[in-house]
């Protein structure tokens, strides 16, 4: 199968790759670009571990074709920190012990950042419903929600 040549911007950097028509963006990120921070938990959009943003829109990368990334900007977990400086969400996840095994954490961080960009002052219920597409089996979600609310507070300067 001949491949498509795709040009995209990932975490602010121009990136080119080759992909087959039926290859998912998740597969491209992990296996062709070696960006393994985005995780595969199910491959069918049910767990959110593969969350990235595509032109600023929160999506499951397992449900996006690699070819659809042409000309788009993608943000993954690898682009969330600024060098040595963690994003407030990352810092709060650590302080609140909001991760146990950590496999769902990249997806949650990408999803939470997307929420706070749209709604800087969410209620607990709004956080829970926004993050309903991210499954966690270890934490029972408690400390994740607390970390997100605390990060929101700090980002608001409250």
């Amino acid at each position: 199968m001949s491949k498509h040549h795709i040009s995209t911007v990932i975490n602010g950097d121009p990136v080119e790759f080759l992909c087959a028509t039926n290859q998912s963006l998740l597969d491209v990120l992990r296996n062709d670009l070696n960006m393994t921070g985005t995780k595969e938990g199910c491959g069918t959009g049910d767990c959110g571990a593969c969350s990235v943003t595509l032109d600023g829109r929160l999506v499951c990368s397992c449900l996006v074709l690699g070819v659809e990334a042409q000309g788009k900007t993608i943000q993954t977990i690898e682009g969330m920190a600024n060098g040595e400086h963690l994003h407030v969400l990352q810092q709060k996840f650590l302080e609140h012990a909001a991760l146990q095994c950590g496999i769902c954490t990249p997806g949650f961080l990408v999803a939470a950042r997307s929420l706070l960009e749209r709604n800087p002052d969410p209620t607990e219920e709004e956080v829970r419903f926004w993050l309903a597409g991210n499954l966690c089996r270890c934490t029972g979600y408690n400390k994740i929600i607390e970390a997100v609310l605390d990060a929101a507070r700090e980002l608001r300067g409250a």
Partner: protein, 758 residues
């Protein structure tokens, strides 16, 4: 979080704090490498062919077309693996039989469940491997199948193993069946006990198989060299166990296999066994290339061990004043396609929190055509607890006693008997009950369609083998290594205990997990054993290092070692008579190591006993929608005796996590099979684990009744919290609706049917 600390004499600097874990930054930045995140040059991708039939004889396998596909480097079947003797090895409760294990890795005579691995292919791309799988021709003779445990016990049920004669029955049966064994524990006189009861309740219950539900599918990467040396990167709960099982399945010497611990994306017991590792190693051996495997989510559900579904009858007798006088439980657990359900645990744990003079528990281990069961968080105990804790609730109502007070009245403490032999050696259970009685919300009135339910749970917790090593770097920083896979933050807890023992800041301790070639044996990260047993090894290693540090200081000061003490991270003269010496830090001593004896290193190993069990008591408030049967959790409070919380936030996290798994188990999780024995819900869409919007904040109460056998009083925390929730919710639903549900999950159609039933 409320903490009731019994032993308040000790004041700690590190233990009891909740610092950031050493693997934290890699995990929040996507840098941490999990099982599927490794790759090597020249790597091949492997895919596994799985049986489409629930039960079938395998007449032949033709791999020629697959082998001929360009890009395919090897095809594997059970013919490539050595034979294994039929033998149960190890203590009965956790016995392993490699004859079964190799057949679960790759089927031989029969496919025993839909999803059973039949063959595997390694190819240059995953797409080619997938295409090759479809070209393997298997000639199956489809056989009748059986799924449900009660049906599998029926004399006319299709039999999985034609030579399976039930163990534990005298005289032994003459006909084969699916019942692999019967076991029994008994104390006292049941008849006399029930005769003395004022109220007796006998009821039957059923639970469904539920999967551990870890978000990370099983994955590994193997590189087998031409010299017979193999390296394996695997996400597991025990890389030493992975090494042992994989080497045995392949007929390799254990020393020729090095297993590197990848970060693990959840296990809960399900990753204490191997599925893909022997296949990856065998394919790497066959091809001479590294081989990577990642299971799909569908395969995880179809072919990896959930815990058992169970069918049970529980009978308990109580006196008017709340004294429990007799208890009888018969527990039938379905093991999946090969023997080994946790029925023994279920039988032992069922009545363990209570002092009951007359008790009998009977267990049956039953095979059926579904994936082989694997450990899931306190395996077996949640199943029997569902029945026992529900019956206790009915009895409490019959005698007009608060259900927590009924439990408190009969609660075991240090010295109390168990139904299975040894006495309880620890307090802690009553304290968890008291914590709820004292809770300000426990007596808060509820509204319409709302109800409150309580339940307790017990888990043995584990001890066993662990090794820790320490070396002091040239700059005085401490490198601490153990062989305990870190599933939920144990690197931090080990560092906290080391920092406390050595008297140094937490930040100066580098806590790592070493591979199987770099440290002595460590048993699995499971059974709630690591903070306890590996912690013991860490503390012992620290104490040995302190001896060395004192010796080095004594050499530097040219005094007798008896004149040197170690205090708050410094070597100090024991008293003025030793001499006027400035305290020496680790850094100062390390700087002089070359002239005082060389590198400052040590190792300590334990085979720990003296662990304390886990007790958890919980209450939950629910609201039931009487028109739909939907159940909403309004509040969930879980108290657990943790001995001492080394890292309190991680202890809370364990309780939150176990409770939420229990909520899913109670309300929605189950395996749904079609008429052909094929799994209909092999994905997270229809295998419904709780999502964030389903839940309130779970409240965890850390009760501390320290374990005197551990320098920091540790009791294992991970598991006891999953034991009570199902019964707590069933009891709450009963209080809300007046209807008793006896079958899990208590999904809306069942709840609605119960409400609508006359």
């Amino acid at each position: 979080m409320l903490t009731n600390t019994k032993n308040t004499e000790q004041v700690f600097k590190s233990v009891g704090t909740s610092p950031i874990r050493p693997d934290g930054v890699p995990k929040v930045t996507g840098m941490a490498q999990y099982g599927a995140d490794y790759s090597l040059p020249g790597m091949l991708w492997a895919k596994i062919l799985r049986s489409p039939h629930a039960h079938a004889r395998i007449r032949s396998i033709n791999t020629s077309k697959a082998e001929a596909l360009p890009g395919v480097k090897a095809v594997l079947t059970s013919a490539d693996l050595p034979n294994q003797n039929f033998d149960y090895i190890g203590p009965e409760r956790v016995a392993v039989n490699y004859w079964h294990m190799t057949r679960n890795i790759l089927a031989r005579e029969k496919a025993l469940y839909e999803g059973h691995a039949i063959a595997a292919v390694a190819a240059t791309t995953a797409a080619i491997a997938a295409e090759a799988i479809a070209l393997i021709e298997v000639d199956y003779e489809v056989l009748p199948h059986v799924i449900d445990v009660d049906e599998a016990m029926h004399p006319d049920a299709p039999v999985l193993f034609e030579d399976m004669i039930t163990r534990g029955i005298e005289p032994a049966p003459t006909k084969p069946s699916n019942i692999t064994k019967r076991l029994e524990f008994k104390v006292g006189d049941l008849d006399a006990g029930f005769a003395a009861a004022d109220e007796i309740v006998e009821m039957s219950f059923k639970t469904a198989a539920v999967h551990q539900g870890y978000i990370e599918p099983h994955s590994c990467l193997a590189r087998y060299g031409a010299d017979g040396q193999c390296e394996l990167w695997s996400a597991s709960q025990g890389h030493f166990v992975v090494r042992a099982y994989t080497a045995k399945i392949l007929g390799m010497e254990i020393g020729n296999l090095v297993v590197h611990p990848a970060e693990i994306g959840g296990g809960f017991g399900g990753k204490t066994v191997v599925y893909v590792e022997p296949i990856a190693v065998a394919l790497s051996r066959k091809t001479g290339h590294p081989v990577k495997i990642m299971m799909s989510r569908e395969d995880v559900f179809k072919a990896t061990g959930p815990t058992s579904g169970g069918s049970m009858t529980v009978k308990i007798g109580v006196k008017k004043d709340g004294t429990l006088v007799a208890a009888d439980g018969v527990f039938k657990l379905q093991a999946g396609a090969f023997p080994g359900s946790p029925v023994m645990n279920a039988a032992m744990c069922a009545f363990a929190p209570y002092i009951i003079p007359n008790v009998r528990t009977v267990g049956f281990d039953v095979v059926s055509n579904r994936p082989k069961s694997a450990a899931y968080r306190a395996p077996g105990s949640p199943i029997s607890a569902f029945g026992v804790e529900s019956v206790l609730d009915i009895l409490a109502q019959k005698i007009g006693m608060d259900p927590l007070r009924l439990r408190l009245k009969n609660a075991v403490k240090a010295g109390s008997p168990t139904p299975y032999g040894p006495k309880h050696s620890h307090d802690g259970y009553a304290e968890t009950i008291q914590a709820l009685l004292d809770h300000p919300e426990y007596n808060k009135p509820l509204g319409k369609n709302q109800g409150r339910g309580v339940a307790s749970g017990f888990w043995f917790n584990g001890g066993g083998e662990s090794t820790a090593s320490i070396h002091i770097n040239e700059d005085g920083s401490v490198v601490l290594a153990t062989g305990s896979m870190d599933v939920g933050g144990s690197r931090a807890s080990m560092a906290l205990m080391a920092a406390e023992t050595l008297g140094v800041p937490y930040a100066s301790v580098r806590s790592t997990v070493a591979d199987t070639a770099s440290i002595g044996y460590n048993h699995v990260t499971g059974g709630s054993r690591v903070t306890y047993a590996t912690g013991l090894a860490v503390v012992e290693a620290c104490n040995k290092i302190i001896e060395q540090l004192r010796l080095r200081a004594s050499i530097m000061w040219d005094v007798d070692v008896k004149g040197v003490v170690w205090e708050d991270g410094f070597a100090k003269p024991a008293d003025k008579s030793v001499g006027e010496f400035e305290p020496l830090s680790l850094k100062a001593i390390a700087a002089k190591r070359a002239v005082t004896g060389g590198p400052i290193v040590t190792e300590a190993a334990v085979n720990a006993g003296g662990q304390a069990p886990g007790f958890s008591t919980q209450f939950c408030d629910v609201e039931v929608d009487p028109e739909t049967g939907g159940v909403k959790i309004l509040r969930f409070v879980a108290a657990q005796d943790v001995g001492r919380a080394i890292h309190p936030k991680y202890c809370e996290g364990q309780i939150h996590g176990g409770v939420v798994q229990g909520i899913g188990w109670a309300l929605n999780e189950e395996y749904i099979y079609d008429k052909l024995g094929r799994l209909s819900n092999a994905g997270f869409l229809d295998y419904r684990i709780p999502v964030a919007s389903d839940l309130p904040m779970i409240e965890a109460i850390l009760v501390e009744v320290p374990n005197p056998n551990h320098p920091y009083g540790v009791k294992g925390v991970g598991e006891a919290n999953i034991v009570p929730p199902m019964a707590a919710i069933a009891n709450a639903i009963q209080r809300a609706t007046g209807k008793r549900l006896t079958e899990l999950p208590m999904s809306p159609p069942k709840v609605l049917a119960a409400i609508d039933a006359v």
